[in-house]
Symmetry: C2
């Protein structure tokens, strides 16, 4: 029975350094890939040991805009052999597209094999020092200022009521606007962690109470991939 | 400045297969380890390339029972060199001890470096086909039957209200009792995934609506490490 392999990609560093041997070995035997973006998937697979073999591979695109019918149309691929799912950075189907294809496989009895690789959310959570026994990932906060500020108060309340670390992300060019709203809107005793450029030389991970963030007024994250985490009292 | 390296361990398979090169390289240069259990950490580090060098390493234990004062007493270790944190299986400080040591490092300006390795929670989530855009990890459900059944209804309600995949774990010998309560207590349309023996040959990942689980009455997980996930309508 052919399978769907869920293949994590690097989050900015050398794939040969952060993708383990078992994952690299599976990549090497797969001929058909469903990917978020063909160009970057080719670049990743090439750097992950397939350099020189890319032209013999078959690629199909799947993004968050792919319709249910178009996902269903991928089913015949499993008649050809094993299929690999690769998204833009990190884990397929976690804060990234792919879940509808995985669900389709379950519905048709096609085995799904998740492989190990970097997860920016888990790297950020383990390095935050915040509660790793209970946590929630809430995705992106609203882009509009008033709604974003209301969402910040809501997740702080949830964090406090449930003792959950609340994890969220932002489009990089809005990182510093979000940081400003967090530092301005959260309670002084709430812990706030920012984790930027994970796995890179420029990795920056800072956890401080909001009261201490207020004394770091000049600090900018910049347009770097960043995970935000809060834990309220 | 010496650092705290957060070192994921394998979750049952060969460390050389699931721990990436960057993580193995960091392990090789660290002389002082804070570990959940010395015996199993030695076994892991030996299999992760330190065979023959274990006797020259220094080990200190840290578990969920370690007091705040005992965690604080680990601070002088950072005067000796880099320190590695290793827990029983998977990621330190995520559904495992370690967060108080990480928090102590942040409070003292000691850089924290999270390394890549297997996370049973993320492997289960990506392979579940359930919502990976919003999810919550709620730890262990209560052991007592009545409380556990009430907790199941509560997380189903939360899942429905927040469109969150709810992730939880159980002590392996209670897996099948929990599965029975889930299949009996959840709504027929709620999706239930079990992910057992992740990264092993015997890996079993099944996602079905509760109505279909009810027709699999003979199915047993057994005493295998298992992650449970639900997504309610």
């Amino acid at each position: 029975m052919n399978r769907l392999y869920l293949i994590p990609s690097d989050i900015g560093s050398d794939p040969m350094k952060v993708i383990p041997a078992a994952t690299l070995e599976h990549i090497a035997h797969i001929g058909v890939f469903v990917v978020e973006n063909v160009r970057s998937a080719r670049r990743f697979l090439s750097a992950a040991g397939l350099k020189g073999h890319i032209d013999g591979l078959e690629f199909h695109e799947l993004s968050e805009h792919t319709t249910a019918a178009a996902v269903e149309a991928l089913l015949p691929l499993f008649g050809k052999g094993d299929v690999g799912l690769v998204t833009e950075a990190g884990l397929p189907a976690v804060a990234d597209p792919g879940a509808p294809l995985v669900a389709l496989c379950h519905a048709h009895g096609i085995p799904v094999v998740p492989l190990t690789g970097p997860s920016s959310l888990m790297l950020a959570l383990m390095a935050s020092g915040l509660n790793g026994q209970e946590f929630a990932f809430v995705g992106y906060l609203p882009a509009k200022t008033a709604e974003r500020r209301a969402a910040i108060k809501k997740i702080e309340k949830d964090s406090s009521a449930r003792r959950q670390t609340q994890i969220f992300i932002e489009t990089p060019y809005r990182n510093d606007a979000l940081l400003e709203d967090l530092v301005g809107g959260l309670n002084p005793g709430t812990m706030l962690c920012i984790a930027a450029d994970l796995t890179l030389e420029s990795e920056t991970i800072i956890t401080l109470p909001v009261s201490a963030w207020r004394r770091k007024a000049g600090f900018k994250i910049g347009k770097r991939p960043c995970v935000f985490l809060i834990l309220a009292k």
